[in-house]
Structure formats: structure tokens, C-alpha cells
């Protein structure tokens, strides 16, 4: 237990209580971007093993059985009050959501839709907006998920073309008819429906493989039940339509992992009507979420200012600013290149590092950032590094890499608290 030099916020008595969250001082609503200022004069945070015993306690039970401490209960009420207002104050909602959304309330689905801008702030327009978007998705499905045979058949039925029946009487040579420009299965023409279909087949196979591998431990996604199969179908459809609508980026492995929590939350919406349209809602929210991150998935942009490498470099800078000793040890002494561990953390928004319920909590915080999840994400990653600093400082390349690629389970609320503190500290 560290006694000397431990900042009081790390040594707070809160970590021994059972209450999951604490009310920390209001963070300023307009957050400036993390400034690249010289490191603050205060010493780097002393060993964070003071709170370590708390992460040794069993992690939060994933099922929504959180004890309703008075603070928590009041917090849940405040969120509900916000939601029930006619015009939701989105800034206030963001602030509240950043502290985490209670699982039991079943409101996560609606809140995420508001945070991602899928639902407008004004309640009055919800139904209209939802209907419009869901109809649009239905059109997308009809346009993109049909194979060329069916397309040809529909075209014929609409023109009233009569097929020759096989058993209808009469013998004779069968009539040959012309085909519209180049529309035959072996066509190599660029505008041919068939050619495009076969070119897409490769991507569709990739999507199929990944969808089958999503969260194999969860019955929701994987298994022989019809529920799992229909969920997988929905994921497939969403990813295929996204790939077809975005020829620049198509499908990249990992998008299924980013989609999975969205779909899960929307499908488990207590409102049956909403749950039925989970696929359409998840599609639009996925597009919205990915719009900030597309550049991470585009290989050509890897080395550019907006690409994944520069994001990882930002993380590195952040760590250097907050914990220079750890940074030096990781990057210089043990030469653990942040790309080895941070790549997955960043591109998949930490879905692979924690269990599913924990990653939903982290996403509450990530999505509540008004400027997009990236800044918060980097701070959470930095907090993850700081929390295990003792083990990292004691380890060499192999053990550090092993630790970071299999990040140990930890108290999520503590992690988010530390991340938030980093933000506060960086503001000076």
C-alpha cells in the first residue's frame, strides 16, 4: 500500500466501498482538445497499486444487479428525467451518460440513439424520423441484398413477360430472346450486374466468416438457436449494405466487433417495437459511429495525419505527458511499440479487451463525448496503461506485451474515473 507521494484522489476511501460510481466535480461542458503543453510540474502519479486491491475484488457482476445506492438511484432518476423532457438537453444528457448508464433501466438503447444523433432532440419528431430511416433501410435491403437472378425475375414479372411452361402441351424449338446489354452471368463488363455480384462475393464471404466468429461465447450471437441465427443474419445484412454503400472502405475485419454492441443493445430494448427494428437502427448508428473512425480502417491513410499511426502516436504522447517514467520504460527501455497493443484497442473501441458488459459501460462514456469518441478513447487507453504500471515497470518486452495484449480484468468504474482525471489534469 503506497503511503508517500500518492495523490489523494488515488488513495480515496471510495475504492473500498461498494458504491459503483461517485459524483466528481462537473467537468467543463466545452472541453478543449488535449493541449500539447510541456508536462505539468507535478510528479507523475505514484504507484497506482493503492487501488489495486479493489481490482482484485471480483469485477462487477455483468447482470444488471447493481446495488441501488442512494447516489446511484438519484443518478438514475436524473437520467430518466432528462429523457422524458420534450426537448432533450443533449449536453446535459452527455454529461450524465459519461458517468455510465444504469443497466437495469433499459434506457441504454434510447440514450445511445440520442448520443449518436440518430434520434433528434425533440421527442415530437421521433416517430417520424424513425419511420423515415427504417423505410430507407428497407429500400437499401431490396437494392443491395438481391442476387442477379432474382433481379432478372422481378424485372420480367413487372414487364408481364410470359415464360414457356415446361409441361404445357406442344413441342417445338424454344424461342430465343435477346438480352439487355451484356447482362449474362459470365459478363466481364463493369456495368454488368452479374460482374458486380461476383466481385462482391469475396467480401461477402469475408463478412460471413467474421460474423460467425463474433463473440462465440455469447448465446445471443453464436449457437444453433434460431435467435442466434437471425442475429447473425442481421449483422451480415448490415455489414454487406455498408460495404456496398462505401466502396472506398468496403469491409475490413473488425467492423463486426464494432457493430456487435450496438446491435445487442438495440435488440434488447424493452420496447418491442424498437427491438423489432434493431437491424435498421443499428445500421444507421453504425454508420454514424464509424464516420469518425473510417480513417482508421483505410489502409492508404495509415501513415497520414488522420490515420491509425498518428492516433497511436497521440496515445504515446498522452502517456508521455502523464506518466513519463512509464512511457520511457515502455518505449525506450523495453521497446514495446504501442502499435503492438494499441492498434486493437483503438480500432475496435476496446470491445476485445474487456468482457461484454464492461465494454458496454465503457462505450457509455465513449459515446457521450460531444466531439466524438476518439479523445475519450485515448484517455481510457492511457488510464489502462497507468493502472498496470507497476507490472509494466517490472516487466521486460515479452511480459509487458503479453500483459497488454491480454489486459487483466479490472474495475471499470475505477478505470473510467482515472481516465476522467487525466482529462482534468491535462487542462492544467
Amino acid at each position: 500500500m503506497g503511503k508517500k507521494g500518492v495523490p489523494e484522489w488515488l488513495n480515496s476511501s471510495l475504492w473500498s466501498s461498494s458504491s459503483a460510481r461517485l459524483r466528481h466535480p462537473v467537468s467543463p461542458p466545452t472541453r478543449p482538445p488535449i493541449p500539447e503543453s510541456p508536462p505539468p510540474p507535478r510528479p507523475p502519479p505514484a504507484p497506482a497499486e493503492a487501488p489495486r486491491p479493489s481490482s482484485g475484488t471480483p469485477p462487477e457482476d455483468p447482470s444488471p444487479a447493481q446495488e441501488e445506492s442512494p447516489a446511484r438511484f438519484a443518478y438514475g432518476c436524473r437520467i430518466r428525467v432528462q429523457l422524458s423532457k420534450k426537448v432533450v438537453n443533449i449536453g446535459e444528457l452527455r454529461r450524465l451518460a459519461s458517468q455510465g448508464i444504469p443497466d437495469a433501466a433499459g434506457i441504454r438503447s434510447t440514450i445511445w440513439k440520442l448520443l449518436l444523433g440518430y434520434l433528434p432532440n425533440d421527442h415530437e419528431f421521433w416517430v417520424q424520423e424513425l419511420d423515415r430511416k427504417r423505410a430507407q433501410y428497407k429500400d437499401f435491403k431490396e437494392e443491395f441484398l438481391v442476387n442477379p437472378s432474382e433481379m432478372a425475375r422481378k424485372l420480367e414479372e413487372s414487364t408481364g413477360h410470359k415464360n414457356e411452361g415446361m409441361e404445357s402441351g406442344g413441342c417445338g424449338f424454344m424461342m430465343r430472346s435477346e438480352i439487355a446489354h451484356d447482362e449474362h452471368p459470365l459478363s466481364l463488363g463493369k456495368t454488368s450486374v452479374w460482374n458486380q455480384f461476383f466481385q462482391d462475393t469475396e467480401i461477402i464471404e469475408q463478412i460471413d466468416r467474421d460474423v460467425k466468429r463474433t463473440h462465440p461465447d455469447m448465446h445471443f450471437f453464436c449457437g444453433d438457436t434460431s435467435l442466434a441465427k437471425s442475429n447473425q443474419e442481421a449483422l451480415r445484412h448490415i455489414l454487406i449494405i455498408f460495404a456496398k454503400l462505401n466502396p472506398g472502405i468496403r469491409y475490413v475485419q473488425g467492423m463486426n466487433e464494432v457493430l456487435a454492441p450496438l446491435f445487442y443493445v438495440f435488440r434488447n430494448d424493452p420496447d418491442q417495437n424498437n427491438a423489432a427494428y434493431a437491424e435498421a437502427d443499428a445500421f444507421f448508428c453504425f454508420v454514424e459511429l464509424l464516420s469518425g473512425f473510417r480513417d482508421n480502417f483505410c489502409q492508404k491513410l495509415d501513415n497520414s495525419v488522420v490515420g491509425i499511426r498518428s492516433t497511436i502516436a497521440k496515445l504515446s504522447e498522452l502517456l508521455k505527458k502523464h506518466d513519463g517514467e512509464l512511457w520511457r520504460h515502455l518505449e525506450i527501455t523495453t521497446k514495446v511499440n504501442p502499435q503492438f497493443y494499441a492498434f486493437r484497442w483503438i480500432t475496435l473501441l476496446l470491445t476485445q479487451e474487456f468482457n461484454f458488459a464492461d465494454s458496454l459501460h465503457i462505450w457509455d462514456t465513449l459515446l457521450s463525448d460531444p466531439e466524438g469518441p476518439q479523445e475519450t478513447l485515448l484517455r481510457v487507453c492511457c488510464a489502462m496503461l497507468i493502472l498496470v504500471r507497476r507490472r509494466l515497470l517490472a516487466g521486460d518486452f515479452t511480459s509487458n506485451l503479453k500483459l497488454l495484449q491480454n489486459y487483466p480484468s479490472t474495475n471499470i468504474s475505477h478505470l473510467l474515473y482515472v481516465a476522467n482525471k487525466l482529462h482534468g489534469a491535462s487542462a492544467g
Binding site: N147, P148, S149, E150, A152, R153, E156, H161, N163, E164, G165, M166, E167, G169, G170, C171, G172, F173, M174, M175, R176, S177, E178, I179, D182, H184, P185, L186, S187, L188, F198, T201
Partner: protein
């Protein structure tokens, strides 16, 4: 949506060196699910080439095939349709539609694919449909020298078949199609 290629009478190397280049550029692996080959390939290299296009290859024996193990007739079911395959030199008179109809009733298939005449034909009678894909290389036949290279691609989609006919006329590939469908599967009493 199942794509079935019907092709045959290539007579490589005896009467033709290879498939026309335009045909070869269109026949790429990954698109076709089944191949029905009427026979007279004649050598193993052609067999290997067809196998590379699609692993599910069915061949009937033609009189000049070097591999004696191909069967005389073959039947298979694809989707809702039963297809039959035979080279056709056994059916006398060659290319006679009534005799082919007899074979079709004998094999009890909806679509019979035969060759030997090197002329494309698509013929319908009470028991079903007979399709002759012609010769893919344009090799001369026992009957005539005037042969256009041709082959057939069938798109079987439920109860409906679209037959795409590919012919090489004056150096250009012409594609036509023929549509037909069958009424729902009835139990054949005979």
C-alpha cells in the same frame, strides 16, 4: 441461383487446338457451380482445365474420349430439376428429337443435355426439354464442317431456368437467353 455450365464436343487436340480466346476469358473459376460435359474432350488436360473452373464436374463418354471410365449416361438433381447427360452418338438417328425424347423419358429427367451434332438446339416436348450446347471449339462434326463455337450456361433459380446461349459468330460473342419454368414438382407415377 445455381449456375450450371453445359459444354462439350471440344475434340482437343484432334480437331481443334483450344477453346476460342473470347470464351476462355469469360470462363473463370468461382462463378459456376456445376459443369455438365457432353463428352469428346478428348484428353486429360481438358478434363483438368474444366475441373479448375468448377470442382463439380460431370462428363458423359463420347466416342473419341481417351478416358474410358466416363459413364454413358448420367443423371443428377440440381435444385428442383432433374438433369440428364448423354453424349448422343448412341442415339440413332443422330440428333433426332423423337429419339432423344425417348431417352429423356427413359432417364426420367426434366432437362436432357446431349451433344454430338455440334449444333446448338433447345427443344421442348411433353416430357421436358432437350438442350444441345453444340461444340465449344467449333470443331467439325461427323455431319458438317459448318460449326459455330457455342456453349450454354443455365441459371437454375427455384422452378425457373434461364438458359444463356453463348455463340461465337464472326469473331464476336453473341449471348441470347431462353426462359422456361416448370410447374411445381408432381410425383411421377411412371
Amino acid at each position: 441461383m445455381v449456375l450450371v455450365l453445359a459444354i462439350g464436343d471440344l475434340h482437343i487436340p484432334h480437331r481443334a487446338p483450344d477453346l476460342p480466346a473470347k470464351f476462355k476469358s469469360m470462363l473463370v473459376p468461382g462463378k459456376i457451380q456445376h459443369i455438365l460435359c457432353t463428352g469428346n474432350l478428348c484428353i486429360k488436360e481438358v478434363h483438368d482445365y474444366l475441373k479448375s473452373l468448377c470442382p463439380d464436374l460431370h462428363i458423359a463418354r463420347g466416342e473419341y474420349d481417351e478416358d474410358a471410365r466416363y459413364p454413358e449416361n448420367k443423371t443428377l438433381t440440381i435444385g428442383q430439376f432433374k438433369l440428364g447427360l448423354c453424349h448422343g452418338h448412341q442415339i440413332i438417328p443422330w440428333g433426332d428429337l423423337d429419339s432423344l425424347a425417348m431417352l429423356q423419358r427413359q432417364l426420367d429427367v426434366d432437362i436432357l443435355v446431349t451433344g454430338h451434332t455440334h449444333q446448338f438446339k433447345a427443344y421442348k416436348h411433353e416430357a421436358g426439354v432437350v438442350i444441345n450446347p453444340g461444340s465449344a471449339t467449333g470443331a467439325y462434326s461427323s455431319i458438317t464442317y459448318d460449326v459455330n463455337p457455342s456453349f450454354v450456361l443455365m441459371d437454375i433459380d427455384g422452378l425457373r431456368v434461364v438458359v444463356y446461349v453463348y455463340e461465337l459468330i464472326d469473331g464476336e460473342v453473341k449471348v441470347d437467353k431462353i426462359d422456361f419454368k416448370k410447374t411445381a414438382n408432381t410425383q411421377s407415377a411412371h
